[in-house]
Amino acid sequence: MITVEDLYFGYQADRPILAGINFSVARGDLFALMGPSGSGKTTILRLFNLFITPWHGRILLDKVDLQRLTGKERLGMQRRMAMVFEAPALFNTSVAANIAYGLKVRHEKRATINNAVQEMLALIGLQKIARKSSSLLSRGEAQRVAIARAMIVRPEILFLDEPTANLDPHNVSRIEELIRTVNEQFGTTIVMTTHNMGQARRLATTVGFLYDGQLVEWGDTKTIFTAAVDERTTAFISGDLVC
């Protein structure tokens, strides 16, 4: 469903962050992108979301080139995806209003929105605090609300940037459970980044390893974790390097 071809990008003209990236993600996959801090994982997600444009190369979503969209098509394309940023910032309103936002901007009917919000609250197990102000939430709760806020629009692809960073083990497993539910029950294609090897192993169907602007490893989770080709990946997997 997603194809990335020979992607180049950098924030400064002479400093490429991504130098020739190729991979694809099939519908229903859960792709985990790994790599050391600063390797460009978040940058890739921002490219998908059209926040930035590549220097060179293409990103195709169902054969549509993201760079060749007109203004109107752009919004339509953006509305097929949803993203949960690293350390997500919620709107300074109630939990329910945060979750409802994506349907509101799509001008859905009030009753439709209310039902969907209830469904999402049940999904994340936070029905009791629907009216609470988002500024009062714990980090784990805020992350769950951010995922519900993205999922309410039933995106074809959900991007998650380090969804369990800075969470305690209990909340990590909760969020992982939620991600699995979204992937399996809703059938949503997920592209996530993580520093957590175990997490990638537990959740992902395919994984990729980003290193020095290259995707040095890309493939089926089991294969990569048992027979990685690049020595840097093997070092990460064996725990000699922490990524």
Binding site: F85, P88, F91, N92, G102, V105, R106, V153
Partner: protein, 239 residues
């Protein structure tokens, strides 16, 4: 403590003026509030779109415009007064409208004064909105206008501060208001272009210092009440 007796005199005068519903005073308050609120309304109608534009779109000259606004924030009121005076005077370009010495002239000069102030405070509060919140709106499918609405909403506290600052400057304004309004009251004391501040100046010139301070106390009370109402409205809207 005897020397602070004037405070007590002024306070009791302020209360008794208010309780008597002294017609000249009521008319002065009426003119003050009407002129300030009209200027605020026009000023914010101009300021909000400018602030949104200068914080959302990148175009050449944006930095220069922001600088201009910052200069305007500190515009001395006598300058605004003289300019409006020259524009409205009988021989001036807008002399035919006969606006000099009317509340309309006061509204014009106050609008000139407060619009840059409101815009400047709004710009800084809009710039203060977390980039991640803006990105979140876009990633959830917001179009340009919807994104702008989110930013306005997130900045609502600063936006209200901008309005209150504008109102405060308008109602406290003396220099330009006296120049283009003329501090006129009819023979029965009913205000035409007399405001609380210009009336204070008059009382000071007459040597009625306690009376002037009484008017000052009423002015501050008004500003306080308006602020209270604004904060109360904001709380209600926030729920």
């Amino acid at each position: 403590m005897e020397s602070f007796h004037f405070l007590w005199v002024s306070l009791t005068q302020a209360v008794s003026l208010l309780l008597r519903l002294d017609p000249p005073l009521i008319s002065i308050i009426d003119v003050s509030l009407r002129v300030a609120f009209t200027a605020l309304l026009i000023g914010s109608a101009i300021a909000i779109p400018i602030a949104v534009l200068l914080t959302s779109k990148n175009f050449p000259g944006r930095q220069f415009l922001r600088m201009l606004i910052n200069v305007g924030m500190g515009l001395p009121s006598v300058i605004a007064g003289v300019v409006v005076l020259l524009l409205l005077t009988a021989r001036g370009p807008f002399g035919a409208f006969n606006l000099l010495w009317t509340p309309t002239a006061m509204v014009i000069s106050q609008t000139v004064l407060i619009t840059p102030l409101i815009t400047g405070v709004m710009i800084s509060s809009l710039l203060g909105v977390d980039q991640r919140v803006k990105d979140a709106a876009v990633s959830l499918g917001a179009n340009r206008a919807q994104r702008a609405l989110v930013i306005l909403r997130e900045a609502h506290y600063g936006m209200l501060t901008a309005l209150m600052a504008g109102f405060g400057r308008a109602i406290a304004e003396v220099g330009s208001v006296i120049m283009v309004g003329g501090n006129i009251a009819w023979a029965d004391g009913i205000s035409h272009t007399r405001t609380l501040t210009t009336a204070m100046i008059l009382e000071v010139r007459r040597g009625n210092f306690e009376q002037a301070l009484a008017l000052g106390i009423i002015l501050l009370t008004l500003v306080l009440v308006v602020n209270w109402i604004a904060i109360w409205l904001q709380r209600r809207a926030g729920r």
